[in-house]
Subunit: 725 residues, 2 copies
């Protein structure tokens, strides 16, 4: 890519960003859009503009973002969001600190050498076919082999690594404190009083699963056991309940239409309301609801009596016992009565709870294998796509676009963006698949499944996007050599030598992501349009309108690996083409700012995992650093720098650093430390309410005074009566 | 080695064994030797011959051994000993079951082939320089390359593996039950009420370590915390106490002499009682004792007040809380307030308790590295020794033994035994070093250190004895090739091809170990002689006599790896030279029998770890099986057998089997399961007594009514008084 088209793409992106930001300023002031730009506040019952200035200053939102404290974020959006900001600011810190030292030193060192000129003059050197631009002059590609200038670049690797260790250590400590504080909270949280028990053996004859678990835990915790909630097979009752809810919505809708038009709506009873008898909607749905309620009640009783499974939530009357019980081995045979901290009620993946320990392990390994294969072979369609989307190829395939393409401006823009857009589209298809696979592992909670999916996505994107794109150019020439004699050092060497050629591609990729990505994020153009369309044509009831603007959460499953990919790219190019640090700083700085706004005003978290995402992020930042060090080892080696081996101590240090961090901090994220769980509560907890929080919607009765939940309820009182007698 | 000398060595060993057994029958009936042959019973206060027949039948002890039940062993010698018998009988079962099928099938198949004859006839085949004997005719060496007979040997590998899985699974389950039963015991055991806390942070200003720990645990366990015992720096007080004990012994000795001879003994005050002033011993030592007692009391106070360290034993008033506390994370920072189950008081390694977590980790890795280096380079002196100890070389070095050596009988015996004896002597030097290293890792309990040492010794002996001896012959020819191009498959191949040549060596080695080893073990000739010498010339007091006959424990640190080495050897030759199965069965059968006698009548266990040795044994049996499978893969490959790859599924199965066993059982050995800890006790525990059990001798006061242990004692009463006020 030439320098001109690079500047054009940068300029275009920046212009689009400015337009989107202005659009945001304008649109967000309109009262009709308040549910799109301040949904978080509306749900919390706050005044949307409370405390914010109403001036048309387009930078007002920035000031608000800057002045908000971490505690504000925790209060509004929970610990997980606060941890995400720690992530953004940590990476920002790493890149800023690195850039401050590296840009003023490395750029002049690179610019004043003349490797590229020499090479292009030297006609016998057939290996350097690549064109070079002004950008390449500022990169390590311009350094002559064996040059003593390489010392500076080696030093840069050290500097970046040390800065990273420092910031990561500080961040882990900080997040650990955040988590501890949240867990120490004096508020009653149901999940802190419960544990999840799985792999229960078959009960002895004459006992139900429920009685068995009660007697088991009452023996171990005679004073602190409260009651248990046996997991049941709910697929049928869930279906009935969903139908019932559907009918209720339709009834509400029919009533709303009736009210608005004074015209009783009708519908057909057949498939999709298109065929069958014409009936009065309100009567029809009322009848269906009554039928379903009766069915639901019968099925609820059947579920509780007959469909008890081998898992349960067990409740204790204090937090310490629950925290300690979740960490203790209960059964001499480790694959029976396994325990763990109960996830929040809203994030329990109910249907995974019955899967047995070895079933989970087998599923996990099977899925790891499947994902590994996917990662390896997803490269093939990507390579195919990026081959097609070069302009010349497109012209061959779709000849009629030729006249359009030959306009210089269009051509330049297309040339800069096409491959990147193809890549982005391709990547957007994957997350759902990975989340589905992660849930199929048998993971019991939503947040854990999202962490697992996010991890897979990270490895996927690093392997396919970064390594894939980098190697794509050179791979086909050398693939035969590698196939003949596959050796790790050859792969590293290959990666290292092809890196500089892709530098400009990635500069553009990062710029595209932050200008367009964050521009769209901030302006919320797409949700806005969808909302207005829905509101106009579809929504009839208040509930439907609310559903249309409900913002959802920050969607860590794709956001975190996306950011980590940028991080990996920036790391790997930070010394080879230090200019990328500027882009990295902009990406994470802008990201912090925009997301701060969105976290405060837009998104509503859908779960709280008390920062358990952090160890994953930490580990992957380190993995990126590790990759960077390995690549630099290869690249310095390719420059035949004599002291390349000095990178090795750094690689070992990274491994030790990761090990020490894991030893020191990870346990506190895996379990709740007892010193944290033993804090006093504001008020004594309502255990019955905690218990009820875990009853699935489809099983809770509809009459509010009847929360007996008979079959699965602990006969606590009965037992006490017997033991007293 | 020729067949003749093999038979001679076998015969000699068997004869020695019979002689030793008869000696045992004769000596053990003499009342003066009762303390050597029945010390266990004497210490327990039982009649030595109670329930045993007094006939001179030399096989009576065998009947007694056979009729004793596992429960007898647990009662007399504890779970650890019972687990050792499970180990012996499991291996016995594996070899017996394998032998029953393999001997009748493989031996004829091997004997009727004629590879060796063909090869020795074939003069052009220069690679087969080795002599072959009748034994080799019964081994796989006699099978022609590519022969379909190899199918039988492949089948044998499968049979042995399946038998091993079956027996190991059964044994792990059984040991797990044994452990659970022992932990469920209704007796009060101090270690079940305590946890060991390490890595305590610095106390806040104005608090002692002791006050800090009390307040920390009282907050987490307000109702179940009893008190704590802070670990102190005892080196100085220990020295004073040891001196005091020495003086007491000398005083008792002087008084005994005085009584016996009516002659007041005197001694000199200088070095070793050889120089200095002549004094009356009784007066002199009485005075020294009084001095030391005063010193001890001063130092005790100083230790408790000033030398508190960052570790403690914390006591709870019930077993469940202690078991649960030992498994729970207490501090958000994982490297602070680390907890584990308290070891028994008698096996605490007091001086290791103060070492910090990362200190322990660093020590561990450093020692692993050091041991790995030792293992690798111990081979050099061993190779040197076995080169020297061949008879020809000995004649060259020490020419004057020539006439002796030329006597045919002497020559044959020496030729058969010399290398093996050299090996045994060499190996005997190592265990102390390994135990010392294991303790230096910072391990807090004796039993754990012994497990660690035993593991190291196993890897050492397999690597050096088995692989070392096997390769020694062929290594020097091929070492250059390997050095040029080191590849794993080459090493395996080399190992596989050199195995058959050493078969006879190992047959002799195993026979030597069981005939001579168990003969000496049973007859206790050496302890008997030492005891009688000591009694005659040294012992004056009753305590000194008891010290002279005190039998010690089974010494697992060397016994287990020794047995595992035999197991490894037998496994690896089981298919190549199936005759070794007979020797393996004899070794473990005889071992079971002799040790049963020793466990019931002789040895006194020095600790109880509730069978925690088993996972180590299990893992190493599997490792031996794994090595066997790999070797067979190599050997079948060396025979250019086309279906050699069929061994690979077996190797993978071994890995999966190990993983599943670990998942299912290991947790129950690592921690105490709560369902086990929650059983009722026979009587409510005397917590004060439990607490006192952990006070080291040197710190307990000498007046029995004064157990206050001030500085390090919890001010439980004070605290209650304050909080009640």
């Amino acid at each position: 890519m030439e320098f001109g088209s690079f500047l054009v793409s940068l300029g275009t992106s920046a212009a689009i960003f400015v337009v989107l930001m202005l659009l945001f300023t304008w649109l967000s002031r309109k009262p009709g859009n308040v549910t799109i730009y301040y949904p978080n506040r509306i749900i919390k019952g706050l005044e949307p503009w409370e405390g914010t200035s109403l001036t048309r200053n387009p930078l007002a939102w920035m000031r608000e973002a800057f002045t908000s404290s971490e505690q504000d974020i925790v209060n509004v959006s929970g610990v997980d969001t606060a941890v995400h900001f720690v992530f953004l600011s940590t990476v920002l810190g790493i890149f800023a600190c690195s850039g401050l030292l590296l840009l003023p030193t490395l750029l002049p060192i690179a610019a004043t050498d003349n490797n590229l000129k020499t090479r292009s003059k030297n006609a016998t050197d057939t290996t350097s076919k690549g064109t070079f631009s002004q950008i390449d002059n500022l990169s390590m590609a311009n350094i002559t082999k064996r040059s003593p200038r390489l010392w500076a670049f080696l030093g840069a690797v050290y500097w970046i690594s040390l800065v990273t260790y420092f910031f990561l250590w500080k961040a882990y400590k900080h997040v650990s404190t955040l988590r501890a504080q949240a867990l120490m909270s004096t508020d009653v949280k149901p999940e802190q009083f419960a544990i999840l028990v799985r792999d229960m053996p078959h009960p002895p004859d004459g006992q139900t699963q429920k009685e068995f678990i009660d007697s088991y835990f009452r023996e171990i915790y005679p004073e602190t056991f409260y009651r248990s909630l046996v997991v049941t097979e709910n697929s049928k009752v869930n279906k009935i309940w969903e139908k019932l809810e559907g009918y209720k919505k339709k009834l509400a809708r029919a009533e709303a239409i009736n009210e608005a038009t004074n015209n009783r709506p009708t519908n057909k009873t057949g498939m999709c309301g298109l065929v069958g008898k014409q009936v009065d909607s309100i009567e029809y749905y009322t009848e269906l609801i009554n039928e379903s309620v009766a069915k639901l009640e019968t099925e609820q009783k059947a579920v509780l009596a007959e469909k008890q499974q081998t898992a349960a939530i067990v409740f204790f009357n204090n937090r310490i016992t629950a925290a300690s019980a979740a960490q203790s081995l209960h059964c001499q045979m480790v694959d029976k009565w396994t325990v763990m901290e109960a996830p929040e009620p809203r994030q329990l993946i109910w249907k995974n709870l019955n899967i047995k320990l070895f079933g989970r392990i087998i599923r996990q390994y099977f899925i790891y294998f499947f994902v590994a294969v996917t990662i390896l072979f997803y490269m093939i369609p990507i390579a195919f796509v990026s081959a097609i989307t070069t302009l010349k190829n497109l012209q061959k395939i779709i000849p009629f676009i030729k006249p359009v393409v030959e306009l210089t401006s269009v051509r330049t823009v297309l040339e800069s963006f096409l491959p990147q857009i193809a890549l982005l589209v391709f990547l957007a298809m994957l997350p759902k698949l990975l989340l589905f696979l992660s849930k199929a592992e048998g993971i019991p909670s939503q947040s854990h499944a999202i962490r697992a999916a996010s991890g897979k996505y990270f490895y996927f994107s690093v392997f396919n996007v970064f390594i894939g794109v980098t190697l794509a150019g050179t791979l086909f020439n050398t693939v035969k050599d590698i196939a003949k004699n596959p050796k790790l050092d050859m792969v590293i060497n290959l990666l290292a030598t092809s890196l500089p050629k892709s530098a400009t591609f990635f500069l553009t990729y990062v710029a595209l992501k932050f200008f367009i990505g964050y521009g769209l994020e901030l302006s919320r153009i797409i949700p806005l349009i969808i909302f207005h369309l829905k509101k106009k044509f579809l929504c009839k009831t208040e509930a439907e309108v609310k559903e249309a603007w409900y913002p959802g959460d920050l969607s860590y499953a794709t956001r975190v690996p996306g950011d980590l990919l940028i991080l990996t790219i920036t790391f790997c190019y930070s010394v080879i083409a230090p200019l990328i640090l500027v882009f990295g700083v902009t990406y994470f700085g802008l990201g912090w700012l925009v997301l701060r706004n969105q976290a405060l005003k837009v998104y509503v978290p859908s779960y709280e995992s008390y920062g358990r995402m952090w160890p994953h992020i930490h580990q992957r930042i380190l993995a990126a650093l590790f990759l960077f060090q390995v690549v630099m080892f290869g690249y310095l080696g390719a420059k035949t720098f004599f002291y390349t081996a000095l990178v090795i101590p750094l690689i070992i240090t990274s491994l030790i650093f990761g090990y020490v961090c894991r030893q020191k901090f990870y346990g506190g994220f895996e379990h709740t430390a007892l010193e944290v769980a033993c804090r006093e509560l504001k008020q004594s907890p309502d255990l019955e309410e905690i218990f009820r929080a875990y009853i699935p919607h489809s099983l809770s009765t509809h009459k509010p005074d009847e929360h007996e939940f008979k079959g699965a309820m602990s006969r606590y009182q009965d037992f006490n009566a017997i033991s007293a007698a």
